[in-house]
């Protein structure tokens, strides 16, 4: 049982289960119990409205006066501006997308291996282990990335990377590099979201019915063909869900990135240069911020909210569409 997995895979439960007597129907008298539940719901609704509303409200000044700067501007000058969020946006996109690619490519293979290539006795242990890893707080990954991975990469890997042809285009100018970098952040993010992705993917792949696998083998398919042409397509829905969940986690990650990306708000793409992301910039700058800067940081928060909500929306839409396709099935 995995909470994360279930919330992706769940809504088949809804069907005709669960509802015996509908609340709010006029034929049943409302009891204090109904009112209690409704009160809690109203409270929750209020909290969520407040959640969105207060951040938007506090960011008002920035949207009113300098919306363009926030989205397209380059530098971030405390304490009075101009506050340009482009570097953060680029950083968020670069790090999360690279992290996602790492997590999906490696994670999919890992999930497949766990389900098909690991002996039955070990499977449960490995699955539990992966779920535990998914629960490790991100600050721990950040700490490890900063104190262990970063120095090693700086001394061992970076020089090699910088020696590639086209190094300057991809990695940037070595004189500007000092360890913390967007690439490092992307890798640590990738390692961080890997267990989550693997845990969900594994669960989804494991429930592909055995007789589909046997049927395809009986037709003369090779193991890889079974995986590629039968198992993966059948588990498409859940895999999409896993991908979006991983992406959502990557884009929202704050402290790990704050520790290892370098915290430099400069608009550039080079991977081995230091950079920042929206979430980590908010975290690092907020402490000393006043007035206008707070408003600008809140505005960055709004951007983050938009990003997160859109991901959620797209994920729901995609999963819903896949469900409809397969429901005809």
């Amino acid at each position: 049982m995995s909470l994360i997995g279930e919330s992706i895979v769940d809504s088949e439960l809804r069907g005709d289960k669960g509802v015996v007597e509908e609340f709010g129907s006029s034929t049943t008298s409302r009891s204090w119990y109904h009112y209690l539940l409704l009160a809690a719901c109203v409270l929750f609704a209020a909290v969520s409205v407040g959640f969105v509303g207060s951040i938007i409200e506090k960011s008002g000044p920035t949207w009113l006066h300098h919306p363009a700067t926030l989205i397209t501007g380059g530098g971030w000058q405390s304490p009075n501006g101009p506050f340009g969020g482009l570097a953060m946006i680029i950083g968020t996109l670069e790090t999360s997308l690279i992290a996602l690619v790492i997590a999906v490519v490696i994670g999919l293979g890992t999930a497949i291996s766990i389900v098909f290539f690991i002996p039955r006795r070990l499977r449960n242990i490995v699955a539990t282990f992966v779920e535990l890893l998914a629960a490790v707080p991100s600050i721990v990954y950040g700490l490890w990335g900063f104190l262990v991975l970063a120095p090693w990469m700086y001394s061992t890997v970076d020089p090699w990377l910088n020696s590639w042809p086209f190094a300057r285009e991809i990695w940037g100018d070595p004189s500007q590099q000092y360890g913390p970098s967007l690439f490092l952040a992307a890798i640590v993010l990738g390692v961080m979201i890997l267990p989550t992705f693997v845990a969900i993917s594994r669960e989804v792949i494991a429930v592909v019915p055995n007789d589909l696998i046997e049927a395809s083998l009986s037709l003369g398919a090779t193991r890889w063909q079974v995986i590629r042409k039968v198992v993966l397509p059948t588990s498409r829905i859940g895999l999409f869900g896993a991908t979006f969940l991983a992406l959502a986690r990557a884009t929202g990650e704050t402290v790990a990135v704050a520790l290892i990306a370098g915290g430099v708000a400069k608009v550039q793409f080079h991977l081995l240069n230091p950079g920042t992301s929206i979430a980590s910039w908010i975290a690092t700058e907020f402490g000393e911020a006043q007035g206008n800067e707070i408003s600008a940081l809140m505005a960055l928060g709004v951007l983050l909210m938009l990003l997160s909500f859109s991901l959620s929306l797209v994920s729901r839409w995609l999963v819903g569409r896949q469900r409809k396709l397969l429901a005809k099935v």
Partner: protein, 310 residues
């Protein structure tokens, strides 16, 4: 409709078709088997690639963190090292106490509301319920820094409460709510309908059925969800970073500033003192141990109830 009349004798075309099928399948077999070999090996490799950094991480965590978990660590407040005493870091009792306080308050705030909303979502077909469900699912995926911004904006600015434990707990509660709601809804939905019907058949009113029959059955799932929510909240830095204040004192009162384990790690990771950097490995290890215990507890609890109900 008698489809069976369709069956004909094998014709010439038939024969050549069969031969070509045999021929092609034979010709491509070696290549297909090779591809299968290669790809499955690659998959196995990715397993190794996944395992390596994670195992290394755990190894470093234990290696660097274990020595830090001393009696001092648990009982003394932090000190600042100086040149004459570079290893005088004290302990992290302030952070431990703060984390405990923060999470208890957050749980008190989030669990009652979350469970109630979850029950409602499971048992109601109204549009309101659908809307709340979407809200909960969306918020579950929201970056935790936003909860910190919300707490700052609402508790600190609007309510004029200063840096405090309650502000941090507020942020954590907002974080935990969607998780608890979703878990509760799933748990209640998983209660078989036959149980509900039995309760109603005995003449009990629907709300009594819900209270006395359904929720107790769903309790395992609900508890599991709460444990997982707490386990997540303990390790979160971003929501509390902006609003709890930190500090070196052993405080826990709701209105006073507190520290927290994740916060200490974040603050001291970049310290110039190696001894302080070393100390936070202990905090990290402690966090991970705690989270592991909670997760395993949740898992064992859930599976035991499964066995009983089967």
């Amino acid at each position: 409709m008698n489809d069976l009349t369709q069956l004909e004798e094998p014709t010439e075309i038939d024969q050549s078709m069969r031969e070509e099928i045999r021929r092609v399948s034979h010709a491509t077999r070696a290549r297909r088997l090779l591809i299968s070999r290669v790809m499955t090996t690659l998959c196995a490799l990715t397993l190794a690639v996944t395992a390596v950094p994670l195992v290394l991480l755990l190894f470093q965590l234990i290696k660097r963190g274990a020595p830090e978990l001393t009696w001092t660590f648990f009982t003394k407040v932090p000190e600042t090292p100086s040149l004459i005493a570079p290893n005088a870091t004290g302990g992290l009792s302030n952070a431990i106490l703060g984390s405990i306080a923060l999470n208890i308050y957050a749980a008190i705030l989030a669990i009652p509301v979350g469970v109630l909303v979850g029950v409602y979502l499971a048992e109601s077909l109204s549009k309101f319920a659908s809307a709340l469900r979407i809200i909960a699912q969306t918020m579950a995926g929201a970056p935790s820094i936003l909860m910190g911004l919300f707490a700052f904006s609402f508790v600190l600015q609007d309510l004029h409460v200063g840096f405090s434990a309650i502000a941090g707990s507020f942020a954590l509660a907002v974080l935990m709510l969607p998780v608890i709601i979703i878990a509760t809804e799933i748990a209640v939905l998983n209660v078989p309908n036959t149980l509900r019907e039995a309760g109603l058949a005995l003449g009990a009113k629907p709300h009594k059925v819900s209270m006395r029959v359904v929720i107790p059955s769903a309790l395992t799932g609900i508890v599991t969800g709460c444990i997982l929510a707490i386990s997540r909240a303990i390790g979160e830095t971003a929501p509390v970073l902006l609003v709890i204040g930190g500090g070196y004192l052993n405080t826990w009162k709701p209105l006073s500033p507190v520290s927290a384990l994740p916060l200490s790690i974040y603050e001291n990771a970049k310290s110039e003192w190696p001894s302080q950097r070393a100390q936070v490995w202990g905090a990290a290890l402690l966090l991970v141990i705690f989270v592991f215990i909670l997760s395993l507890t949740a898992r064992i609890w859930a599976s035991r109830k499964q066995k009983v109900s089967n």
